[in-house]
């Protein structure tokens, strides 16, 4: 990578390569017209079309043009970047360019495949997409790759059924997982449902065992009744600030026996039951709650301390 050109201060010289993709693109988009249009865009020094840009001849042409015209930005208008961005990045870096100065314009999935019956409009859209890609390419800066240490821990935000399952999968892979949940119990909306499509199985019968498994897994730490205040950092090195909300019950000592619920005089609508049922000022939202720690809602508690006596 050392021999790659220093391009940050250079004036951009963009090359646009429009791909036919057989008939995938050319069958709908008028490639010649689009290429002609691309030539008229600012800082574009060459624009050409090709039957298969990803094939060897196509790549050879890109490399040749980079050398010949001293291009320092390359835009390929073809398929999705998920498909061939790595291919072209490798291709331009072989020609001595920083691979991050390559930009892809998706005129296949976003254009020709989406509008097969309106060729004129598809052509116009392809022009717009290429115009945007060229504008972005002109502003690109070359990046350097380097290695950084990684924290081998994961955090899952949201303890619904998706969060529970991801936490279990990650934990089974051997990662330490923090499962952060806003409510008092994990479970999310699935815990509220009666039956699940298409088998009409009882919803909590599927989710309940998973919830218990989460609480038993030594690799998973559930941080429930907590809010994520901020997420900073980058992949592998995140710093997350979490606020644990007070339950007014000592979590380590609570066995979840429920003796405190009966003497409590205050009943308020239970949001977990869509306000159709009530819960006491000290209670758990539902019987299968995980972790089963009772919570006092200070908005409703009258502080009679009957629960303290019962505990």
């Amino acid at each position: 990578m050392a021999e790659e050109k220093k391009v940050e201060i250079e004036k951009p010289r963009v090359g646009v390569f429009v791909c036919h993709c057989g008939l995938n693109i050319a069958g709908t988009v008028n490639v010649e017209e689009v290429t002609k249009y691309a030539r008229s865009l600012p800082d574009v020094f060459c624009a050409m079309d090709n039957r298969y840009t990803c094939a060897d001849p196509g790549q050879k042409e890109i490399k040749g043009k980079i050398k010949e015209l001293n291009l320092n930005r390359v835009v390929v208008a073809a398929c999705s970047p998920r498909m061939h961005e790595p291919t072209f990045r490798k291709c331009v870096s072989e020609a001595g360019m920083n691979p991050f100065l390559f930009e892809m314009a998706n005129i296949r999935e976003f254009c020709s495949w989406a509008h097969p019956h309106d060729k004129e409009a598809a052509t116009e859209k392809a022009k717009e997409i290429i115009k945007m890609a060229v504008a972005k390419a002109r502003l690109l800066r070359g990046l350097e790759k380097f290695e950084v240490p990684v924290t081998n821990k994961a955090m899952v935000i949201g303890g619904g059924v998706a969060g529970i399952h991801s936490a279990l999968d990650l934990a089974d892979m051997g990662f330490k997982v923090y499962l952060v949940e806003r409510d008092e119990s994990i479970g999310g909306h699935m815990a509220q449902l009666d039956k699940t499509f298409p088998t009409l199985d009882c919803s909590i019968c599927i989710e309940g065992p998973k919830m218990v498994e989460v609480s038993r897994n030594p690799n998973i730490e559930i941080i429930s009744f907590a809010d994520v205040l901020s997420v900073e950092g980058y992949i592998g090195n995140f710093k997350v600030k979490i606020r644990k909300n007070p339950r007014y019950v000592i979590a380590e000592n609570c066995t979840g026996c429920g003796e405190c619920v009966n003497p409590c005089p205050i009943e308020y609508p239970n949001a977990w039951e869509m306000n159709l049922g009530t819960r006491k000022a000290i209670s758990a939202p539902f019987a299968q709650a995980v972790p089963l720690i009772y919570t006092i809602d200070k908005n409703h508690c009258i502080e009679c301390y009957k629960c303290v006596d019962a505990c």
Binding site: P265, N275, L276, I302, C304
Partner: protein
């Protein structure tokens, strides 16, 4: 999902309701019985009760404040029912009268000690019934028989004083004092006199209002309407109630009386406990 909350005025009653799938909580405020005092507003843990001045018409007497309950805040705990001197509040769960805090022993009920010795009653005497300012005493002069609606009695002692044969004994629920600083009173102001539900205030010869501690129940209805806050003060020192052990009551007691009033009750409780312990040991 939104809550089903209802609020309506019906035949002099304000009804608020919280309807749920299997439970229906309701609270009924009797506007006739309510005298616009401050007790329920002072102790409401959710601060859901508000007192609003009643609209005044020209040439009419001032009327007491009107109660308004915010149905969104109310938790139907029943503290207002437990403290109401006039029995103006009723709580229902599924149509059954239930006071949640009293049922859970988180709140005491007021003790109304009213004793009538009917053997001492004279025939054709209706003095107690005539004296009652809120007309809850009924007398059958032929038998003679006295019926007092105890749940609604604010224990003002008018009947006790009026009785010629000392047949009625009433113990006040609230103890305290009422102070009117006549010098601060505005000229010709009789607002407090107009709203007093128990005629515990009277007009002096100098045109100023004087308080009568004998009949005052320290409800605070007069304080609400007094235009000068320094002119009229009501202090409560103790409340006569059933025994209870509850933080909610301690808080309410402190709000109604003072920190000293709360401490006094604590000391009395400790003393009673100690006396009992000594008794048990010696027995």
């Amino acid at each position: 999902m939104p809550l089903w909350l209802f609020k309506r005025e019906e035949e002099g009653k304000m009804i608020i309701e919280r309807a749920m799938y299997a439970k229906r909580f309701s609270m009924i405020f009797d506007r006739q019985k309510c005298k616009g005092c401050t007790l329920c507003r002072d102790i409401c843990p959710r601060e859901a009760i508000e007192l609003k001045p009643s609209p005044k018409k020209e040439g009419e007497k001032t009327r007491h404040h009107l109660v308004d309950v915010d149905q969104k805040k109310c938790d139907f705990c029943g503290m207002c029912e437990a403290i109401c001197l006039f029995g103006a509040v009723t709580h229902m769960t599924n149509g059954e009268p239930v006071v949640a805090v009293v049922k859970a022993e988180s709140f005491p009920t007021l003790t109304r000690e009213i004793a009538v010795d009917m053997a001492k009653c004279e025939k054709d005497c209706t003095k107690c019934a005539d004296a009652c300012p809120i007309k809850i005493v009924a007398v059958d002069p032929k038998k003679p028989e006295v019926n007092i609606e105890r749940d609604f009695c604010p224990t003002c002692t008018w009947c006790q004083v009026a009785c010629p044969t000392n047949a009625i004994h009433v113990r006040k629920i609230f103890n305290g004092s009422i102070k009117i600083n006549q010098e601060s009173c505005p000229e010709n102001c009789v607002e407090c006199l107009d709203v007093c539900p128990l005629n515990a205030l009277h007009l002096g010869e100098d045109g100023k209002v004087y308080a009568d501690d004998a009949y005052c129940i320290y409800c605070g209805a007069c304080v609400n309407v007094c235009p000068k806050p320094e002119a009229l003060k009501v202090y409560r020192t103790s409340i006569y109630h059933t025994p209870v052990k509850s933080g909610a009551w301690n808080k309410a007691l402190e709000k109604l009386t003072s920190t000293q009033g709360k401490e006094r009750e604590f000391r009395a409780k400790i003393l009673a406990k100690a006396t009992e312990a000594v008794k048990n040991r010696t027995a």
